[in-house]
């Protein structure tokens, strides 16, 4: 699809179909559902970061008036090990133990029991009556501590995977991974210049504004209905069924509108608990986390430690890249080390690379996916060091990247050969961008960095129903987290040739949509979009059949254009074009309603590349960094709804800036998080940010009918290094640990 295509609807910016409900407060989010007779569930959480549960006594709380149910880990079935798949990965057994601790608590805030009561306040009060006896263990709070020889072990049955021979002793290192190509030593020998450094990033949270919330109701026959805010209701169903040993067909999950997720709502926390409490009490049970619980017990994203070494010739050509990286997984194995390792060197053509990675458990909440999981941490390290390399080579940092940029036909570090990709184009746009060349004042600095995320496809289903007046219903299964209904409607409108306004998009529940993977991995517009297009094409072929029958022509004598069936060029038929509306109106006579469908496992997700330019001003007396300009350039393949694509670029930039400057989990020596609220977990506020300029590059993804590649995740990858490089430029010192908080920056300035 290299030639320019004229689209009628794609590329326009209509108002989203669900918009009115969302600006008027009508839209129902996770905590907005209520049922008659509903009671409220709350969770008792561990006051210790690491302890053995010796005894839990629920007898007193069960006696309290107004308490309808109380459960602990003992009330859940045993769950056997098994991979969860999906974006976050992980193991069902761990998931079950994370939802409700069994035998051991592994982080401050770990769920140990839950009660359901007439009111939330009563339930909270009742928690005090639950007696838990703990044997407190040493908390293991950092990668260094966890990987130390004499570290306290979180899980005695965990032996490091991926090392040969199989280790004899248990370890906090869940697994070791390795990727390599070429001869790394030779590569460094060929280098004229070698740079190396190590980088650290803190634990951060996705920070969605809507806390996790659900409402469960189970009937006497054991059939449960669950309303919840999730990125993937089919995954909630699968996880709940597994954790409660129920049959999939006995759980119906109705997704509410979702108030942000960024990967953090691909995971299940309260849902199975609510179902169990509902089963015991015989009443609908609502559970809503408060913000403190969201921070302490959901999310976060891995803290990381990465050592990188890069060798290059004096013309900038890279000869070798190597790294050692360790990611915190939190309480249970399964950090994003794998995708991090798959991303770290991917933007560059380099014959010799070596990547070693470690997945490490610590006494913090189990990490969840966070927008391009693993990539921001990994590429912060690589792109910071690339900046140093450019400085050493006295080369323009964009030029250095251009010299080495991957392009079509190159074999990616993680395996496949690239199809058409837009990395070079992004770099060229950046180089020409006025924000790259405008003059800066004293104390200001500019930094650039590249971002990469491979994007995923996975399974999607869609149906297209044509109403009897020709209007269109699209039925799909991805919760709309950022305007995807608009994209689906645009693609359906484009395919069918009917106006956007005539298309409605329904995000249907687990009983009314075909199986669909999560809203995540930047897959929705790509994969579910493809399903919608195919379902619309199914409609077209049916509509052509109906027209052929009406006109007494052969099917292949009918064409479809602008929403109408017409005879193929050269077919001699004296007939008027038949609109979709006409065909629909007659459908009773021509074979029944028009119903198109498609299901697929989408292949060929187009990788997403970006280049960001950050401009900062640093107050040398206080260490405070202000971002004064930010430019996000990214290849979208084809922007279906450009305004929402820009929104992804801007939102990801803001999150990345927060990660770079202020966001971090702060723990005390006992492993208790000190800043579990938006007051001290400082996400950027409106006055912290400048306008975020965007530029959408469009190098079509050949695997998608309209050229789409995912755009949701790549935007958060480059900002960390872009900001860090800008601060380096402004203060003349490289700080190798995030966040670049005022104290850290001031210390570096004063120490320089």
């Amino acid at each position: 699809m290299s030639e320019a295509v004229n689209f009628k609807y794609i590329g326009t910016r209509p108002v989203r179909p669900d918009g009115v409900d969302k600006v008027t407060g009508r839209a129902n989010y996770g905590a907005d559902a209520n049922l008659p007779g509903m009671i409220h569930g709350v969770v008792l959480r561990s006051p210790h970061a690491h302890a053995i549960i010796k005894k839990i006594d629920l007898s007193q709380v069960r006696l309290l008036d107004g308490i309808y149910a109380a459960v602990s880990g003992n009330d859940f079935p045993e769950v056997s090990s098994g991979s969860m798949g999906g974006e976050g990965g992980g193991d069902y057994k761990d998931l079950a133990a994370n939802i409700m601790a069994r035998n051991k608590v592994l982080y401050h805030g770990h769920a140990v029991a839950a009660v359901a009561a007439r009111t939330r306040e009563l339930a909270v009060e009742a928690l005090a009556l639950i007696q838990v006896e703990y044997e407190i263990l040493d908390p293991v709070m950092t990668l260094d501590a966890a990987m130390a020889e004499d570290a306290a072990i979180l899980d005695e049955s965990m032996f490091t995977q991926g090392v040969d021979p199989k280790p004899k002793y248990p370890s906090n290192i869940a697994s070791r991974i390795e990727f390599k190509r070429g001869d790394i030593e030779q590569g460094f020998l060929e280098a004229d210049i070698i740079v190396e450094s190590e980088f650290r990033t803190p634990t951060v949270h996705q920070g969605y504004i809507e806390p996790h919330a659900c409402l469960a109701s189970i009937n006497e026959g054991g059939q449960a209905t669950l309303w919840c805010s999730t990125q993937g209701h089919f995954d909630v169903r699968a996880a709940s069924a597994k954790v409660l040993n129920m049959d999939l067909c006995d759980i119906k999950v109705i997704p509410s509108e979702i108030g942000g997720g960024f990967g953090g709502k691909t995971v299940v926390y309260q849902e199975p608990v609510a179902i169990l409490l509902s089963r015991i009490s015989g009443r609908p049970v609502k559970m809503v986390m408060d913000r403190d619980e969201v921070f302490r017990a959901s999310g976060p994203a891995s803290a990381s430690h990465t050592r990188v070494k890069i060798g290059a010739r004096s013309d900038g050509t890279l000869t070798a890249m190597s790294c050692w990286m360790a990611f915190e997984a939190g309480a249970f194995k399964g950090s994003a080390i794998m995708p991090g390792a798959m991303c770290i060197f991917t933007p560059y053509k380099v014959a010799n690379f070596y990547i070693e990675g470690f997945d490490v458990v610590v006494n913090k909440p189990k990490v969840a996916a966070y927008r391009a999981p693993g990539a921001p941490q990994a590429m912060y390290a690589c792109e910071s060091l690339m900046d140093e390399l450019a400085r050493k080579l006295e080369m323009d940092p964009l030029e250095l990247r251009l010299v080495n940029a991957v392009e079509e036909g190159v074999q990616a570090a993680y395996g496949p050969k690239f199809n058409a990709i837009g990395f070079r184009e992004c770099l060229e746009v950046a180089k020409q961008h006025p924000n790259y060349t405008r003059a800066l004042k004293e104390g200001q600095g500019r930094g650039v960095a590249a971002g990469f995320w491979f994007n995923v496809g996975m399974q999607s289903s869609a149906e297209v129903h044509i109403n009897e007046n020709g209007t269109v219903m699209v039925i799909e299964g991805n919760p709309d987290i950022g305007g995807s209904r608009a994209s689906m409607a645009l693609m359906a409108a484009e395919t069918l040739g009917v106006p956007y306004e005539k298309v409605r998009v329904v995000v249907a529940d687990t009983e009314n949509a075909g199986y669909t993977n999560v809203t995540g991995g930047s897959r929705v517009t790509f994969a579910t979009g493809m399903a919608v297009i195919q379902a619309a094409q199914d409609i077209i072929s049916q509509a052509k059949q109906r027209a052929a029958a009406t006109w007494e022509l052969d099917e292949d004598q009918v064409d479809w254009q602008n929403g109408h069936a017409i005879p193929m060029p050269g077919v001699n038929a004296d007939v008027e074009p038949l609109s979709l509306a006409r065909i629909a109106a007659n459908s009773g006579r021509t074979g029944g309603p028009l119903l198109g469908r498609a299901s697929l496992n989408a292949k060929g997700a187009g990788p997403g590349f970006s280049v960001n330019i950050a401009e900062v001003a640093v107050d040398r007396e206080t260490g405070k960094t202000d971002v004064i300009g930010f430019t996000a350039i990214q290849d979208a393949g084809k922007a279906i709804h450009p305004a929402y694509v820009e929104g992804q670029l801007q939102g990801g930039a803001a999150q990345g800036i927060g990660w770079a400057l202020n966001e971090e989990y702060i723990y005390d020596e006992k492993g208790v998080m000190q800043n579990a609220g938006f007051l001290d977990y400082r996400i950027p506020v409106a006055s912290d940010l400048p306008k975020i300029d965007t530029h959408i590059v469009e190098v079509a993804n050949t695997a998608h009918p309209y050229g789409v590649r995912g755009v949701g995740e790549t935007p958060i990858v480059a900002p960390l290094a872009a900001v860090a490089n800008a601060v380096r430029d402004a203060i003349g010192v490289r700080i190798t640990e995030l966040p670049l908080s005022p104290s850290r920056v001031l210390e570096s300035i004063d120490g320089a």
């Binding site: 008027t24 209520n34 408060d290 305007g483 305004a643 820009e646 803001a654 609220g677 975020i692």
Partner: protein, 166 residues
Amino acid sequence: MSKMHVSASVNGEPVEFLCEPQQSLLNVLRDELNLTGTKEGCTTGDCGACSVMLDDRLVCSCLTLAAEVQGKSVGTIEGVANGDTLHPIQQALLEHAALQCGVCTPGYVVAIKALLEKNPLPSESEIRYWLAGNLCRCTGYDKIITAVQDVAQQMAKADKNAGEPA
């Protein structure tokens, strides 16, 4: 525990409700009056999702006792649109794609309305500082700010043409 009886006006209509003395206005709006358009993001005054008008002041309903509103008027997101017509602010947010997940949006609508009533043509920096208490994690704020700038211009023009406040 004895509940308190409170009479107030909510979105221009007289309302009576019973509440606990320590219950927040947010709680009463959402759970007793079924006005779930006002959202809860933190209950500690840090996110602005629960923004409402209390008489002529923009406040966090999570930091307001329900008992405090006795005899006062409360304005929520549900009262912003006029019949079947969206308020220009709501329309502008839609047209600028200034919401992604939308959970922060009701709070923004209420806060922006309060801003433009006090300061019809705010500068970008005034907009950003006024809205600093409304967290949005999705948009990076850019399109929200643009929407406010745009609607401020529109409303000012409309005011001038009509010769009276809209």
